[in-house]
Subunit: 537 residues, 2 copies
């Protein structure tokens, strides 16, 4: 069963290895896992629902609680310590666009806010209930069917509530894949990906969700918006682009048509170690600007590389394997400052050869920058664990450590300064708390123009809600300020929600914010759709 | 000097060959070139300017006339027959964003409409002056400088009024190219490409302008909109996408940053002949869906193929060459129904090898569908003449024939029915006039999802304005109805303007139109920016 106050299925445990625990204790001091509030106790805290009865709306505390929050660290603190300030007054599970329309109408008629709910994996406060009025959460999980498959145009139409694994399973039965694999893949939904402008790990081949989303239907307070589905169009601004990133402020996406691909017949992930960050950055820039047709590039900085090699160690054999690898790498010039680059290539049908050639070219370019090819082992290991690493957050919490991440995207000249500034801001924010932070970064998505910079922070929990919330707030504010000051976007792949909203104006400008507000009001004049998210009132 | 009532520079003549003229006479009946109105006579028709004097505004009839219209067939009829119903009351040539701002303010203060003017190449009525108030045309041609070049991020910033050849020359001096080559390249501007969502002939490699446009600045009646420039972002709807396709309704783009590429070291265009349309369509679909990394695919249907081989013939030697080619093709299975496919590949630096491999793979796939490779000659000839073919329109007019085109994009299952329906609609529309139309089509831009369908029509001029306008209107209405009925967008690469506006609602829907209207009003509450274009009032 899905954990109500942590990540993922409760039968899956990814433990913190002994070496990793020793490492964290040394870096951050010994941790103590706080006592969690019980599900029953938290349910009992919820105020009674303020919504009148409706046959499609469930007002039981258990369902309201499991729809109250997402996966941001703030959400975790609230759930773990049992400090839920607001929960939806009811949750509906519509099975058709007609029901979605009816539910939006019901909410408006009763002065309630609507919060669309996909997989509940938001990490920036998309799911918070309104504070000033009742809230209806609309859970889209029952609208998950593949309703059309156009093999000629490589298009598939789904109910927008379909989650990653279900979507892939339905496509793979016909020989296709969407190829969209964000780390939240296990639970996040197609509709959620679209309205938060998600990006998957293999976006280098398949594209961001902006490229994959071809059209669909949205229910809005002003009626149904049909988003046409053309290969391309010059007929005015693209309605798809109004919906992408709209974060529930316009309406609820009920159906989405996506651009699919044949399941790859060839797929490989290789690891290359570069001697230091400067050479690594130049190598990946050269590779991505060569437009080889790879499916993934993922570059860890030296601290992340060392952390991954430490965290990967469970038991003596593994420790010996890592030690041997590090010795071999050192002999070939990749020592303490080494940075791990993962290179992926995927090919189907007539482009298998091209995928193999792309991989070979990438390795050649990496070698030119001092890269040492370490084969497929680490790459395949990454692929196997790519949706499991996020479970480490549960185990770290139990040992008294918090893990959080931020991400941005920057043009190339700003990538390294931006990365350093974000890590440094986090360290200073924690030092002000008298605590250490272990911060490390990878470039998760590579573009000819620049890269996304994805930084992870591990620090010690104080053990009580107020102190831990203050610690997190200080860190979050410091790194968000650093991102904006460094010329980055406040989010490359997670969205805005409540948590990033204060920094949005810096990139959209007053006029841009005003225009987005006018756009949303055209669909939602009464302001009932996910109020307060994205644009602060 | 640029022609005031036709295409291009008046020192360039591309004659209709003898064979082509014989062909047109046989197909459409003998034509007589109408007598053109003189520039002076048309200038004399213009009503005096209603704008008060302003140091930046030129109100001379000659300048007003040369900014009155674009290149649609309707515009041609008005210019050739001297039937200008409305011209701007003045034309300004700003040299800075401050001047653009001042001019917009001046227009609003005097109740005038603003029509942004780039290269004057619109083919759907973007440039018409307002009928109900004075009009100020703002010609952006003096804002054309390369102001920033970021070699690391492959970004270049230009004044938005820069025209194609000037932009390419400025980039090539540094070893770069934008790679955006619409047929209007000779005159059309960067700003015009952005606000009409233009697509170049090599968009398969370089992307549509939507992918090339990274950010910029727009002057609007509500102030300056700064469009940030990130490699990618999930921070709400993308401001770039509000500007793309806005057709002057929000403001005037003054500066644009674009994603550039190294000048290709390898570039080749090959011709392949497929035996018939069905096999040709399957071949290009297979090629484009294999994502090989080509730079161009362009498939002519059988009538266009025959027309091109006829039009290419000037003199006896050429006729013999074409006859020989056709004999050879016939022997190898490509006879009367043959369709010509042009395949382009371009590579720079580390991807030269990949470009060569992509070309080889494309030819292999084409062969599998019965394709006969005809080498580089025809492809290189196409490349050489790609901006000259449009001059044929001048020569055809002189012989009494009109040439017009329409274009759309459709998903694959709709491509062939859509193409047939558009050609048939044109034939029926002309038959109702007691005239023939010579209609032929190519797929100009290929996508995994579908293709753009670009149809050319040639018919005989009646020789007087009213009859010719009626003929054109009937044809334009018929083919636009056919596009919408066939599930296509009203434009894949030309935009909406006045001419396509009546068909826009079919794809945007009432709610979509309302939302776009609200968006434009947020920037232009008084409705002075290019009124009536894109969204009919």
């Amino acid at each position: 069963m899905r954990r109500w106050n942590g990540w993922g299925d409760d039968t899956i445990e990814v433990p913190v290895g002994e070496g990793a625990l020793r490492f964290l204790t040394q870096q951050l001091g010994p941790g103590t896992g706080p006592a969690d509030a019980s599900f029953e106790a938290v349910c009992a805290q919820l105020v009674p629902s303020r919504l009148p009865p409706h046959p499609l709306v469930d007002t039981s505390p258990a369902v309201r609680l499991t729809h109250a929050l997402g996966q941001s660290l703030q959400d975790w603190l609230r759930l773990r310590y049992g400090r839920i300030e607001a929960a939806p007054d009811g949750v509906a599970f519509p099975e058709s666009a007609d029901e979605v329309r009816e539910l939006i109408r019901f909410a408006i008629d009763h002065g309630a806010a609507v919060v669309p709910y996909g997989g509940g994996t938001s990490v920036c406060g998309h799911l918070d209930a309104a504070r000033d009025r009742p809230t209806l959460s609309i859970d889209m999980s029952r609208m998950r069917a593949l309703t059309n498959l156009d093999r000629e145009s490589l298009l598939a139409t789904f109910g927008a509530g379909v989650a990653g694994p279900d979507l892939e399973a339905q496509l793979r039965a016909h020989g296709y894949t969407l190829g969209h694999f964000p780390q939240s893949f296990e639970y996040s939904t197609l509709g959620g990906w679209v309205v938060t402008r998600s990006s998957g790990q293999q976006s280098l081949r398949y594209g961001r969700i902006e490229q994959l989303f071809a059209g669909g239907r949205m229910e809005t307070p002003q009626g149904q918006l049909e988003i046409p589905n053309f290969p391309a169009s010059a007929a005015g601004p693209d309605l798809r682009e109004l919906v992408l990133g709209s974060e529930g402020r316009m309406g609820i996406l009920t159906e989405a048509t996506v651009r699919i691909s044949p399941v790859p017949a060839f797929e490989a992930f290789h690891a290359v170690f570069l001697p230091d960050w400067e050479r690594a950055e130049r190598a990946v820039r050269s590779i991505v600007q060569a437009r080889l047709g790879l499916s993934m590039l993922r570059l860890s900085n030296a601290v992340e590389t060392a952390t991954m090699l430490t965290l990967a160690v469970h038991g003596k054999t593994a420790a010996q394997q890592v030690a041997l690898l590090e010795t071999l790498l050192r002999l070939r010039g990749a020592g303490a400052d080494k940075c791990m680059l993962l290179v992926g290539a995927s090919g189907a049908g007539d482009n298998r050869g091209q995928a193999r050639a792309a991989l070979a070219s990438a390795l050649t370019i990496a070698r030119r920058h001092g890269g040492v090819h370490a084969g497929r082992g680490l790459g395949e290991r990454w692929k196997k664990n790519r949706f499991r690493n996020v479970y480490l957050r549960n185990a770290a919490w139990a040992h008294g450590y918090a893990i959080d991440t931020v991400e941005t995207a920057l043009d190339w000249p700003r990538v390294t300064p931006g990365m350093r500034a974000v890590e440094q801001a986090a360290r200073e924010a924690m030092a002000a708390e008298g605590e250490q932070v272990h911060a490390y970064t990878h470039l998760s998505h590579l573009y000819a123009q620049g890269a996304s910079v994805y930084t992870t922070f591990i620090w010690r929990l104080a053990g009580n809600f107020d102190a831990d919330l203050a610690r997190w707030r200080r860190l979050k504010n410091a790194v968000s300020d650093a991102i904006v000051a460094g010329g980055g976007t406040i989010s490359h792949q997670h969205g805005v929600g409540l948590d990033h909203a204060p920094w949005l104006r810096a990139e959209k400008g007053a006029l841009g914010m005003q225009a987005l507000g006018a756009l949303f009001r055209a669909f939602d004049p009464e302001g009932c759709m996910n109020p307060g998210k994205l644009l602060t009132p």
